[in-house]
Amino acid sequence: MKNRVISRTAGIGIIVILSVGIVLAITKPFSVMEENDIVGGFQFPSLPYGYDALEPYIDAKTMEIHYDRHHRAYFNNFVNAIKGTPVEDMSLEEIFAQMSSMSDVIRNNGGGFYNHNLFWKNMSPNGGEPSDELTAAIEKAFGSFDNFKELFGSAAASRFGSGWAWLVVNSEGELEVGSTPNQDNPLMDISPIRGIPILGLDVWEHAYYLKYQNRRPDYIDNFWNIVNWRDVSERYEAALK
């Protein structure tokens, strides 16, 4: 009798464990590393938080598709494009510095790979505040933090079609705001804005369409709630060195 009760309890326990496992498998709340995520010197990164971590500003479904479909496709297409070529042994920074001499497939997919690597780290559910040094540099370059937000938001809103808005440290060590089309970025020798990107905002429609549809300005306004200022501040320090 007692044994029977125990075995029934154990059975329920197994069912509960299985159910949780199935639910986890269906909703996939976290990014999962796959076999081909490291190819040569390049690695497809895991997401530094769960798909729902940036709710309600970025919804879990968008995060999942954006990371697991779009970003992963850029990575796969990039490593396939450079396979067996001299580019295989170069860093992304070296590739971008010579972008004008490379193929569109490397430009588009290498850019897409790098830009999203940065974008995920630029966001966090609890990203803190900009460092004193970064705050001072923002005020020096743009007059005030509000002015910076307005300029950056305007760069993101006015980029017609697909692209990115950027905050960069230029070759003079000063901050600049701008935007690039498609998957270009400020490290590329073809970019109208040059420098080391420390903050990027994806304004491809796939970044916001499921939640915001045609309302890109709302997506841009909400972005400020999830900026990882600790990461941006660290990138600022590193860019000055």
């Binding site: 697909s162 998957q183 491809w204 429609e205 796939h206 499921l210 045609n214």
Partner: protein
């Protein structure tokens, strides 16, 4: 001259499930309408204040071009669809497709490739040259082949807003089903 959003020649749910009502509500009701609103905001006190839409598309640049061409392109795109209608070309256009691409299937394959591989936002086009032969081109963002002296016959919008609600990241599925809602009688009427 105030530009107006043209009426859709079918109900919002007429193209489902290839293009859903929800997609059309945003694509036609919001995106297309916003291009009309923005153009009307931009043109007063410019040389284009009293120009026809086509003239603005041919001669302007920057924000005026982007909004004008997007109005023109979307009207042209939406007019091509119909819940019923002939799904293959006939007559002179069918002959031209055959002589330019080899066969209707070969044409579909080439057009599909142009629509699939266009990187970022833009449009795939089938156009007619002055000599009556046909050509497939890709245009980024608001681009329009009339600017290159071509006569447009058919276009596929591959901005993500055209398919993201229904197909997410899978643009090839959208293009595959695009053929199911084309009204070739409309496309033939443009081949004159």
């Amino acid at each position: 001259m105030k530009h107006e959003l043209p009426k859709l020649p079918y109900e919002l749910d007429a193209l489902a499930p290839v293009i859903s009502r929800e997609t059309l509500e945003f694509h036609y009701g919001k995106h297309h309408q916003t291009y009309v609103n923005k153009l009307n905001d931009l043109i007063p006190d410019t040389p284009f204040a009293d120009s026809s839409l086509e003239e603005i598309v041919m001669k302007s640049d920057g924000g005026i071009f982007n909004n004008a061409a997007q109005i023109w392109n979307h009207t042209f795109y939406f007019e091509t669809f119909s819940p019923s209608g002939r799904r293959e070309p006939q007559g002179a256009l069918a002959d031209a497709i055959k002589s330019s691409f080899g066969s209707f299937d070969a044409f579909k394959e080439e057009f599909t490739k142009a629509a699939t591989t266009l990187f970022g936002s833009g449009w795939a086009w089938l156009s007619m040259k002055d000599d009556g032969s046909l050509v497939i081109t890709q245009e980024s963002n608001a681009g329009n082949p009339m600017r290159s002296g071509l006569t447009p016959l058919l276009t596929c919008d591959v901005w993500e807003h055209a398919y993201y609600i229904d197909y997410r990241n899978v643009r090839p599925d959208y293009i595959k089903r695009f053929w199911e809602i084309l009204n070739w009688e409309v496309i033939e009427s443009r081949y004159k």
